[in-house]
């Protein structure tokens, strides 16, 4: 009897171990991207803004009220409801569609929904883009466009960027700026770049020393350290230190692919770029000279903000788009003190390779009760009317044309944007821009009132190299190569701390060489071979 019970227990234990595992067929994407097989865009010349802007939906399309459930896979997203805001109401008026919004509270939520087959009708995700792009889960846009919405504007480039291993595309990533759009909104300034912000009053006390390169920056920080011992000369955190200085040292590797193209159009790991080592050597020098706190890599957002707002930081690096609000709040809290944005790029050969092909995509799942209505609904967001409404808001209320003929925020909206999240929450602007194009959003959001911001971003724009297809040299998720790729990223993070905090040049050299040795042991060369193979495959469609 006892043996029988033990045997049954063992069987139950074995079953329990496998109870949670259920791989659906076709889960793993293949390693080889298939040939491009797209349809031509029906309107305008391929690749032009005109091709991407179609007229408002024709009256034949239904505008009967319908509700779609949508799952937004971003815990940080502002919106968890739809309706009652100017932009939301405009969407309902134009399309008849109301959204029943569920915002994720945890990164693990969408995988549970996928595995249990309980998906919402629409899913908006970035992290699980590749997981969602399967015929078992979602309708492909190819299928939906062909059957229900041939007018849907999509360029061949967008199809190439977003296609899955099966050759179809199931979503179009948000945020990517095609070259033709960059031309159309050439006056727009890329807002999400790091900038160096300094205390203007202290610079004046120091006699406004020259600041033309990183050596000048070093000298100024030394002066601040010696004259103001209570201040932090340069405040950094882990997200900004390499991105800012790497650009100045000419590290032209893609942010996502971690490799750069040499003169032979071959991908080389950023570890081997001479600028990579120089960047960390410079940072190590700053830390050794006590110009940057040793805790730079573990400074939390809250600590960062406190040090900035209570005037203890002389200089800090942040996203340029936060500069106007930061300056305003700082000067209100610290009367008599002020901030300034350093417009000089501090380098003779700065370069920034932008290899982002967008981030979040909107998927129409197989749970959708009316896929025809869904694709027609999404069509509206691809029209000029839809893009302007979701990115800029209502004309005359949230934006207007200025005297220079360029769109800008209204005075009232500019004031409300000082509490930017409140502004977005109340209006719905930038919350439903599922096919947003970065440059179009930047066209109104970056204020041209501040000459320093305009000058800096204009200079920065000239050094950006857009190579979005580099993004796809990354190994697919779920593959062995991807696991090695992730391990190499983590290795860089681990040695970053060691290199920056090295006590001497010798220790720095040792740490850097150890990192290279370990990277090669993990499989750096194999990953580069893989990435170059991928690059050759997609290069022809670049």
């Amino acid at each position: 009897m006892k043996k029988l019970v033990v045997f049954l227990l063992v069987c139950c234990m074995t079953m329990a171990v496998f109870a949670g595992c259920s791989a659906k067929p076709g889960d793993q994407p293949s390693d080889n991207p298939s040939e491009t097989q797209g349809t031509e865009s029906p309107q305008g010349t391929e690749g032009t803004p005109e091709a991407a802007e179609a007229p408002t939906p024709t009256p034949e399309w239904s505008k009967e009220p319908i509700t779609f459930s949508i799952f937004i896979d971003h815990p940080w997203y502002l919106m968890d409801s739809f309706g009652g805001r100017p932009v939301d109401d405009l969407i309902i008026e134009k399309t008849g569609v109301t959204l029943d919004v569920t915002r994720s509270a945890d990164d693990g939520q969408l995988p549970v929904l996928i595995a249990s087959g309980d998906l919402h009708e629409l899913v908006y995700t970035a992290n699980k883009f590749e997981s969602m792009a399967h015929a078992e889960l979602c309708y492909s846009y190819d299928e939906l466009i062909e059957k229900y919405c041939p007018e849907f504007p999509v360029t061949q480039l967008e199809k190439d960027i977003n296609k899955s291993p099966d050759g179809k595309f199931y979503a179009i990533r948000n945020g990517y700026t095609p070259p033709e759009w960059k031309e159309k909104y050439s006056y727009a300034l890329k807002s999400k770049v790091r900038s160096l912000i300094m205390r203007k009053d202290i610079m004046e006390e120091l006699g406004n020393p020259p600041l033309n390169d990183l050596e000048d920056l070093y000298n100024i920080l030394v002066m601040v350290r010696d004259r103001y011992p209570d201040m932090v000369p340069l405040l950094l955190d882990r997200y900004n230190l390499f991105v800012f200085f790497g650009v100045r040292f000419g590290v032209n590797s893609g942010y996502y692919c971690n490799a750069y193209l040499d003169e032979n159009n071959t991908l080389i790991s950023e570890f081997y770029h001479p600028g990579y080592k120089k960047t960390y050597a410079y940072l190590n020098r700053l830390v050794r000279e006590k110009l940057v706190p040793k805790e730079a890599l573990i400074t939390s957002n809250e600590q960062f903000h406190q040090l900035v707002m209570n005037g203890r930081a002389f200089a800090f690096i942040r996203n340029t788009e936060t500069y106007p609000q930061t300056k305003l709040t700082f000067e209100e809290l610290n009367p008599g003190k002020s901030l300034m944005l350093v417009t000089d790029l501090l380098s003779e050969n700065p370069v920034w390779v932008w290899d982002q092909a967008g981030y979040s995509g909107m998927f129409v799942t197989k749970e959708c009760k009316d896929p025809a209505r869904a694709i027609q609904f999404l069509y509206w967001f691809r029209t000029e009317e839809g893009r302007i409404a979701t990115d800029w808001g209502i004309e005359g209320v949230h934006w207007e044309y200025g005297e220079d003929g360029l769109p800008r925020r209204t005075i009232e909206a500019s004031e409300k944007m000082q509490t930017i999240n409140q502004f977005f929450k109340e209006t719905g602007i930038e919350q439903w821009n599922f096919f947003s194009i970065d440059v179009m959003r930047d066209a109104v959001n970056v204020s041209r009132d501040d000459p320093d911001v305009v000058e800096y971003l204009t200079r920065y724009d000239r050094i950006v190299k857009d190579i979005p297809t580099l993004f796809f040299t990354r190994p697919d998720s779920g593959t062995d190569e991807r696991a090695v790729f992730q391990e190499l990223n983590q290795l860089a993070g681990k040695y970053e701390s060691k290199m920056i905090n090295s006590a001497s040049d010798e220790e720095f050299e040792k740490n850097f060489n150890d990192m290279l040795a370990e990277a090669e042991k993990i499989g750096l060369k194999k990953i580069l071979e893989f990435q170059n193979e991928r690059w050759k495959q997609i290069n022809g469609t670049n």
Binding site: A16, W76, K192, T329, I420, N421
Partner: protein, 298 residues
């Protein structure tokens, strides 16, 4: 009376100093949260607040109690804590009483299943599918029903009940009492320490649980306080560093208003922690007694 030696005095002094340090280290975080919750958010962002609020305000609490989601979350949390604790304590106690009888059929099998379930589970996805099959998803009862039975607490209570003299039960049976009457009239009154312990553990678990709200409930009017607190944290966190730039815009620390995300968080933390802090001292004696009663056998 024993004379206190120098050694006694030295040891006592050391103990008092050491325990005072422990007290400061454990109490100060609560104090810090409390003073920040009563300080203007924008001013708190400057740092430098350690002992008392610098710019006292009730604004953070005002925002909390006027925003429907917080009040709704608090209401759901209180309801699930009260109902969930009562049902789980009662149900677990009944099962424990049943299993405490030595003559019950398949007793060993029940025990084996109970112990097995303490160590092994199907995982999140099978559990989700099970709840969906039972129609519990998006229902208030998803907070209560899956948590009605606590295997560990049942085992502790079984040991406790076995310590109760059988003669009490026997005499009740002779007088014509059935099992339920014995349970209600004899076992429950005698088991107050262990029931109080179970209630305390259960109520703390219900009060702090956000997990069920995340995975099993999508209706906003059913979300609990812990869920909204987690949302506040999520609004300033992201797993993807490239999203950090978006998050920085939305964080609200630069907002030019008195209440910031952080100050709201402090007020919410205090509101969430306060009831447990208030209740625990009254249940402490039961907690200490209850944890050992089931363990010691003579």
């Amino acid at each position: 009376m024993l004379k206190r030696t120098l050694e006694d005095k030295f040891v006592d002094t050391f103990n008092y100093i050491f325990l005072t340090l422990i007290l400061i280290v454990t109490v100060y975080p609560f104090w810090y949260v409390l003073i920040l919750s009563f300080n203007e958010g924008k001013d708190a962002a400057l740092g430098g607040i350690f002992l008392i609020p610098r710019k006292f305000t009730f604004e953070n609490y005002k925002v909390f109690f006027t925003e429907p989601k917080w009040v709704g979350g608090l209401k759901n949390t209180v309801l699930r804590t009260v109902i969930g604790t009562a049902l789980s304590t009662g149900f677990t106690a009944m099962v424990a009483y049943g299993l405490s009888h030595r003559y019950i059929m398949f007793r060993k099998t029940y025990f084996n299943l109970l112990i097995f379930s303490m160590y092994f589970g199907g995982g999140l996805i099978p559990f989700y599918v099970l709840l969906r099959g039972l129609g519990l998803l998006n229902s208030f009862w998803v907070y209560v029903i899956p948590n009605m039975f606590k295997p560990f607490m049942a085992l502790v209570m079984i040991s406790f009940i076995r310590e109760i003299p059988y003669s009490l039960e026997e005499s009740a049976r002779i007088d014509g009492a059935n099992d339920f009457t014995i349970f209600a009239r004899i076992i429950v009154p005698v088991s107050k320490p262990i029931l109080a312990t179970m209630a305390l553990f259960g109520s703390v678990a219900h009060w702090n649980d956000w997990y069920s709200s995340v995975y099993f409930v999508t209706r906003k009017n059913l979300k609990v306080l812990a869920f909204f607190m987690r949302e506040v944290i999520n609004q300033s966190l992201t797993s993807d560093p490239t999203q950090e730039q978006l998050v920085a815009t939305y964080q609200g620390v630069y907002d030019n208003i008195a209440v910031t995300t952080r100050s709201m968080q402090m007020a919410t933390i205090f509101i969430a922690v306060a009831p447990i802090l208030l209740v625990y001292p009254f249940l402490q004696k039961y907690f200490i007694k209850g944890m050992t009663l089931g363990a010691v056998k003579e």
